[in-house]
Symmetry: C2
Subunit: 345 residues, 2 copies
DNA sequence: TTTAGCACTCCCGCCGCCAGAGTGCTAATT
DNA sequence: AATTAGCACTCTGGCGGCGGGAGTGCTAAA
């Protein structure tokens, strides 16, 4: 990347900010007034021509103002952006709404709509991965017929139950024995660890195992299987906010976008890429590699439990979004959400 | 309503069918060819003028063909419609996808997307009301600290748990006592009955009650409270299908619509009105009374458990929808869904 | 009662026009 | 050498007029 002199940087910044605010291509005259510099439009035009050569701005047609290109946004975001600190009011609102009392599914939903509310864009939050969650407790309850209710206490915020269809009836006492067995052996281990231990047990010692243990293992494995299905999903909120933006307002674009949201796999793949990065990550327009997001940007931050990243949250909006506002919001929300998820007391 | 002679009826039917198929105003010439009658366009025009006077059709402008009015659709649906029996293939698909093994929340979701798939419209299914569900069983498990996990077994498909924040720790044995007490007294009663019994007990005998019972009642009441919050909600699917239709394809209409879906309260109110009616119910355009649905129709049918209506399902689409196909689909789906929800075996 | 004929209406796409905004280039100015 | 004024040029977008097409209502004939 060629170095930009200070003035060029300043003008690119001013132009981008103006365009983000107004949504209209910015002409030299306007920019001259807007930037506060005492420069004539003609000078600005020269600079603009340079920026255009560098691929940082472009004009929709011969005689219209300039708009930032994806590259222009990139430079803007990476080197020119002055992130302003968050309003206390906003921080308060975020904190208020991150009530710890909810279970984590509800929490995810409320964070998602919180993000969309505060940014007026679409909020997105992945469900926390549970692989690394410790298994606190297992219980079995008999239901009518051959059904058994299995309860998996993962932590103080998350409980999961599923109904098992078994081959015969079990007495309460029997079930109690099974769950005792499982609790003794596996409580406190992560789901993954439990699973692999189960598999080994099954393979190595099946024949010596008494039937009780074998059944308990079967059951527990079934439940674990279900527990993991939920992961790899996300909760989206405020899609309708996207309809406010001119640039997304043609029906075909919207349709593609909404269908991508429904499809989920693409978006998930994209979000996966944000897990590795520690802080806020931004995809601008085509950078995402997905055509339906060409006109959108994605601002994300991972969140974690016990120091392990377990999910990603963020917002989706038009490339022309108020990054300097959105970025700190996403950042702080991720932190607060992490804090809310982390077991304390 | 003035009686229509047979020919007028036939032509209204032909016109409506044609318009539903093509989406374009239908002119006299076209209709003459389409209807298969040996009538000249001029004759058709006379009939059309009559239908227009009756408010059954209208023309968007002086010299364009006619389209059905809401009233026209009404007559069409109520008296002219020839509902064709469902394709076996479709019925099969419906049956296949209504697997009993899911819990009811999942089932609701899959039915909703099933409806939207088959009709290519938006599917909507309310969550089943639980008021009349019998309480099968209550269990309490101690969690860490002062938290207690309460499990409410409602039926073989539905289990609900919530974490209670109590004032002190409880031993497992203690909790066992509580749940035994509750199970003895309330098992098999409906949630509503349980709740009112609880209230009476609390009022009349609080002072004589030993602390154990009081606590148990408190807990159960908390859980019941949560259990009922979920009701009055619905699951929507295939909203994007609505973007296929020309008449809904301007962004403002779409936005209103989608916001109404998010808001839920209006739609729920509308769906409530369908509970009373036994069979399929149809709101056409403005009939719904909600402006954002002016260009939409809603086709619904209630579903029931143990002979009691507990919810409503249906589809939302443009007024110009293929009623003769949609109606039986909604009807059959409601029946199959009821069947799937009803406890058997 | 039905139909042919006809004048009329309205929509829609097309074209040309014009004002407005903004550009690039050149030559003058600092 | 950098900046600026001036100017010719270009593109958009809105407006009005025009003509074809589709369809109507009415009247008079069958």
């Amino acid at each position: 990347m060629v170095e930009l002199n200070e003035r060029a940087q300043f003008l690119l910044k001013a132009l981008t900010e103006r365009y983000i605010r107004e949504g209209q291509p910015v002409g030299s005259r306007t920019l001259a007034r807007d930037a506060g510099l005492t420069l004539s439009p003609a000078t600005i035009r020269n600079v603009m021509a340079d920026l255009e050569d560098l691929g940082l701005v472009s004009s929709p047609h011969t005689s219209s103002g300039r708009i930032p290109t994806v590259l222009g946004y990139r430079v803007f975001v990476d080197t020119l952006l002055s992130v302003r600190p968050l309003d206390d009011a906003v921080v308060e609102k975020l904190k208020e709404n991150l009530d710890i009392r909810h279970d984590s599914k509800n929490l995810v939903e409320s964070v998602s709509s919180l993000l969309s509310d505060v940014t007026r864009l679409a909020g997105i939050v992945t469900l926390p991965k549970r692989e690394n969650a410790a298994l606190q407790r297992v219980e079995f309850l008999p239901l009518s017929g051959k059904k058994v209710l299995a309860i998996l206490v993962i932590n103080d915020k998350e409980v999961r139950n599923s109904i098992l269809h078994t081959e015969r009836e079990y007495s309460p006492a029997e079930l109690q024995q099974y769950s005792n067995f499982l609790n003794e052996h596996f409580a406190g281990k992560t789901l993954n660890a439990v699973r692999s231990m189960l598999l080994r047990e099954l393979r190595e010692t099946r024949e010596h195992l008494n039937r009780m243990m074998a059944t308990a293992l079967d059951m527990a494995d079934q439940v674990l299987g279900e527990a993991e299905q939920g992961s790899g999903d996300y909760v989206l909120a405020g899609q309708t906010n996207l309809m406010e933006f001119q640039e997304l307002c043609n029906v075909t674009t919207l349709k593609q976008l909404f269908e991508a949201f429904n499809e989920k796999s693409h978006i998930l793949h994209l979000l996966d890429q944000c897990v590795e990065n520690q802080g806020v990550q931004i995809f601008i327009g085509e950078e995402s590699g997905y055509q339906m997001l060409d006109e959108c940007s994605l601002v994300t931050a991972p969140y974690s439990v016990n120091g392990k990243v377990v999910g990603v949250l963020g917002v989706i909006g038009p490339t022309r979004m108020a990054y300097e506002r959105v970025i700190p919001i996403v950042d702080v929300t991720a932190r607060l959400f992490s804090a809310a998820l982390n077991p304390r007391d």
